[in-house]
Symmetry: C2
Subunit: 203 residues, 2 copies
């Protein structure tokens, strides 16, 4: 090698995540990212081709962290534990949680789409998560996967827990204890897959 880098790709990604978490996607300008790291703007381009490349890397890092948590639990057939695991996950790294859960990805890439290799990585992560959901459902029913079952599972394990966490993430408040209780009640109250009230079976 030739010269030690003062600023790593991770530094820039972390800064981007923090900026988006605090002020929305528009707050993560190249200059703001550089300022936060203490680097000149030009140095960012030694690590990333463009702004959308940083944002895609930030999304991959955040979503990847979530996938590493949820996918094993889903494949093991433990949906309830997956939903509950979101609480400590959100508590451990609030900027990452706010980045991922509070802003639509579409808003990150409205100026320019992410470069090809990163876009593929994003799709791969989403496909992995989708497959894990399907594997989890298959364990509870007769093996066939219906759209309705997939929607229910994603709601119970992903969207509903996020909806429970969102107000507290927005308010920068700690996650209250009853959040976990609400998730548990949710899973107790809604049939997961297979036997659904009023459709295939009675009651």
């Amino acid at each position: 090698m030739v010269r030690t880098a003062r600023f790593s790709a991770e530094h820039f990604v972390d800064a981007a995540i923090a900026l988006v978490a605090e002020g929305g996607p528009g707050a993560a300008t190249m200059q703001a990212i550089a300022r936060r790291v203490g680097a000149p703007t030009g140095s960012i381009y030694h690590r990333f081709d463009s702004r959308s490349a940083i944002l895609a890397a930030a999304w991959n890092a955040s979503y990847g962290s979530l996938a590493r948590l949820l996918v094993p639990l889903l494949q093991a057939g433990r949906p309830r534990e997956a939903a509950l695991a979101l609480i400590p996950w959100a508590g451990e790294d609030r900027p990452r949680a706010r980045f991922l859960l509070l802003h639509e990805p579409v808003a990150l890439f409205e100026d320019a789409p992410p470069p090809e290799p990163l876009r593929q990585a994003m799709e791969q992560l989403e496909a992995e998560m989708d497959q894990a959901f399907r594997a989890c459902i298959a364990r509870f029913g007769d093996g066939t996967i219906r759209d309705e079952d997939l929607s229910r599972a994603k709601f119970l394990i992903f969207d509903a827990p996020i909806a429970i966490l969102r107000p507290h993430l927005l308010a920068e408040a700690p996650i209250p204890a009853f959040a976990g209780q609400m998730m548990a009640e949710l899973h107790a109250g809604l049939p997961f897959a297979g036997a659904r009230a009023g459709t295939t079976h009675a009651a």
Copy 2:
């Protein structure tokens, strides 16, 4: 009067809502709004002081439409019907629903805060909705309102239904029939207020 206006404030607001719904807050530039209406950019400033004024007006129009739907039902003590009413509301005007439910307000005003009179109108609308939630809860318990009860109510009537609708709004797909069933099961499964399992009462 002196000259008939070709472009009303409503035209510009509708265009802004549609643009945000389609491509996120950044897509609603003054020039894009003007182009969509068929007006020159300067004409927008005869109706609105600034870009954030339009976006605030758009938010007020959308949230106001939602408040007019939910507040009476909440005050009448019909939370389940309020939650279910969101489905036809979202179906009737998709751009408005996408504008309001798919993007965090913080992303709308990250460049500049809304001007004072509009900011107050926004707060007033949110306060009205909050009061309606409290009134609804008070009918079910002994009159006292706890934070946990308020969180549960807002989740059941607002955030959870939105979480059910969100994937279908994002995909531009029609809202499937089982969405309503999921909301109904949700309300059947989670205690609304007052008697909560494991806290004040047993079972």
